[in-house]
Symmetry: C2
Subunit: 457 residues, 2 copies
């Protein structure tokens, strides 16, 4: 028995998917195109290549290739930390006394602590291939910045990270981690860019937002030689890279003859959710499954459940192309008491379209409910989850308890996007009973909506 | 290809070893027995059962059973996070341009962040089986306390952790992690025990030591109903539990026909090193291999390389049985500038005997050299290692570079005991260039040696 161990001795075991899954190929109705903000016409590759890597642009605009080959050099990197564990939650099932079968894909075992590394590695790989010398990006809770710092160290690229100011203050260790990997970390808004200066002049005490940080990172990239901007969520090429999550699960499920009834993912910009569901949503769109898909977002930043489906900018300074998506307006800034990520004002356009067309459900959860679920899960399953991931845990527990009520033996899969190692400030507040909730009022939302571009409404 | 993924879908794959490996069964000359400190005669099971769980005592004193069965209920828990990845360091080999093959066993992917969970789970399992309601322990850097908090939450036991004061100050997030899992964390020395009060009265500004914290934890356990004390290193039953590390590696190596030439582990109390090498040292002792074994310890706490082989107490208050080991004296306290664990004054008695008899080599490394290796490794292999683990990395790199010099194609295995997620204060100091080294002078050591018991010298 002890001699048939499957290990990650990847020298002889090649378990890394060869293809990403491009969900859009299965959509009869495609997402609305990205628009050039000046002409309001669909953005051309040339429009985007000044900011992004060429291959990212190609992938962003490709709506027809279902299986996109993962380059061999990148698969080598993936082999160092993948496949991510897919775990049957026997302990949780027993504790909930549910007839449901619960599985989770645990993306938190790599050193960056989350699924973000999947796209960070891909984007750094392409940047190196294209002869670039450096990248810029933004980070909120720090998962994306950590992952990209790691990937850039590996592929030999310079990196500047604009980190949302409130996160930089809440998470000094995230900053230290990025710096250990050689990245320069700038709390945003900063006075190192025109966008940052403008935002600071309007609101010197702002806690920052992803939208601001994106503006700064883009400006920095466009002004530097051999440098491009990369984004860790929202865009379609990021979801494509993240589809390695779903591809691994699909292969394992097929191997064991498992058919998921419900797939649940937390949703900020949509990278994990889109990656997790990709091949399964493909089946649903092709009519060969009836799997339900549930996006879980924070009540403090509810783009799906309370946002508007409209063209909007990706950043606060309104420099990006226009994206048709569920959005709270690029001027929306979540309350500083919101811990963790999932604080972006918009949502990936493909997921937005799927939600609009009824293929995807969404719900919003408050922070304290989410941490209740997190701590419960931690004690039962032994993994301390990131606050982001815990949104999915909350919904998975709710669905499993619903199965208990109805007696249905459903198969539930959720994405455990990362660990909570760097979120101990939030856990400390939770343990001390000082964690608070924030649900924006309609007036709060109206303020965000007022930042939507008039031209594209 | 994507359809033959080996995952941790452990429902159908049973990859957890069935047996621990008791190295002492292969020793012709056994370690000297543990002595009762009053009578100076070998401790009986009854002497030890007032402090430790019955099964731990049985395992501690068993020198003849080579394969010890792992209880099925415990294997269930192990299935949630094991087998730990065994990784071929292709990237590191390439970066070093060495003909050596380098492997590492990565014990840092579980939520406690280190190998400590292997014994924490075992000891909590037995405590629950024996009808106990609570446990006490000490922790230094926090890995052991975190692991035990997690295990106690899972098995439903109360836990009090005495945490070395300097570590509690350096690592508030470790404390928060343990509290999230429901443990009570007391910085040590404290005024909650007589031992703590005595130590504080002698030195009110002491930064604490594992020896102090052990005294407090034992006192607390002995005074409480249904409570026992558990230790995360040093003792033989802990090494037995940790042999699951070596058992997994051995099975995987056998499967792929790999024979290690050199096995390297960091050494504090010896739990990881002893567990990693167990079945391989067994082969060496039985004369069927010539594998070299290297213990790497911090220059600031050099029990193997500069300690005395003598009977000594396990704790500062001199309440434990006497153990024959390499020791700096239970009064030795490492400098507060020492980051991370590996700060115990003594060394496991079995490893001490093996070192004495020439089966085990040892070397000491300074902190800054260790962090140099850590950051180098992080950038190349993508894993941010714990400072403890980085001692082994340093030695593995040195051995691989020696192979480059000689042209030998050796197979090197080292233990990556955990991640550095909770060591960012130390990494921040390293990044800022403010990290310092400490090598005790002979006078410093003499002070520690003066605390050795006269009776047993």
């Amino acid at each position: 028995m002890a001699h048939t161990i499957p290990t990650r001795l990847y020298a002889a075991e090649d378990a890394i998917p060869r293809f990403w899954y491009n969900l859009r190929a299965d959509m009869t109705e495609k997402p609305d195109p990205i628009l050039h903000p000046g002409t309001l016409r669909p953005a051309s590759p040339e429009d985007l290549e000044g900011v992004f890597c060429k291959e990212s642009v190609k992938q962003e605009l490709d709506e027809t290739t279902r299986l996109v080959e993962i380059p061999e050099g990148l698969r080598d990197f993936y082999r160092a930390y993948r496949p991510a564990p897919l775990i049957r939650a026997y302990f949780l099932e027993k504790a909930l006394d549910t007839p449901a079968e619960i599985y989770y894909k645990h993306e938190g075992t790599n050193t960056s602590g989350s699924h973000k590394l999947n796209s960070a590695a891909a984007q750094a790989f392409y940047a190196k291939e294209e002869g670039l010398s450096g990248l810029t990006t933004e980070t909120g809770a720090g998962q994306w910045g950590s992952a990209l710092a790691m990937a850039c160290a590996f592929f030999g690229l310079r990196l500047t990270v604009y980190m949302v100011k409130v996160s930089a203050a809440q998470k000094p260790y995230r900053k230290a981690l990025m710096e250990t990997y050689g990245a320069e970390v700038v709390p945003s808004p900063s006075d190192t860019t025109e966008a940052g200066k403008r935002i600071l002049s309007q609101d010197p005490d702002t806690s920052g937002s992803l939208g601001c940080a994106i503006s700064e990172a883009i400006e920095k990239a466009v002004r530097a030689e051999g440098c491009r901007y990369v984004l860790g969520s929202v865009l379609n090429h990021v979801l494509l890279h993240q589809s390695i999550i779903g591809q691994e699960v699909k292969a394992a499920f097929d191997h064991y003859g498992i058919r998921p009834d419900i797939i649940i993912g937390c949703a900020g910009g949509g990278s994990n959710l889109g990656g997790l569901i990709a091949p399964f949503m493909g089946e649903r769109l092709r009519g060969v499954s009836k799997t339900r898909f549930i996006a879980v977002e924070p009540a403090s930043c509810p783009s799906f459940t309370r946002g508007i489906y409209a063209y909007d900018f990706g950043d606060t300074a309104r420099t990006t192309p226009l994206i048709k998506m569920y959005t709270l307006g690029s001027g929306f800034i979540p309350s500083p008491n919101h811990a963790g990520g999932l604080r972006y004002h918009g949502m990936n356009p493909t997921l937005s379209k799927l939600y609009r067309d009824g293929f995807l459900e969404a719900r919003a959860e408050t922070q304290t409910d989410v941490f209740d679920a997190a701590v419960r899960f931690a004690k039962i399953e032994g993994i301390l989850p990131a606050p982001e991931s815990s949104h999915a845990i909350k919904a998975a527990i709710d669905e499993a308890l619903e199965c208990k009520r109805t007696g249905e033996k459903k198969t539930i899969l959720f994405g455990l996007t990362g660990t909570g190692y760097f979120d101990m400030t939030a856990y400390t507040a939770y343990n001390a009973g000082t964690m608070t909730d924030y649900i924006p009022t309609d007036e709060d939302l109206a303020k965000g909506f007022s930042s939507l571009p008039q031209t594209a409404r």
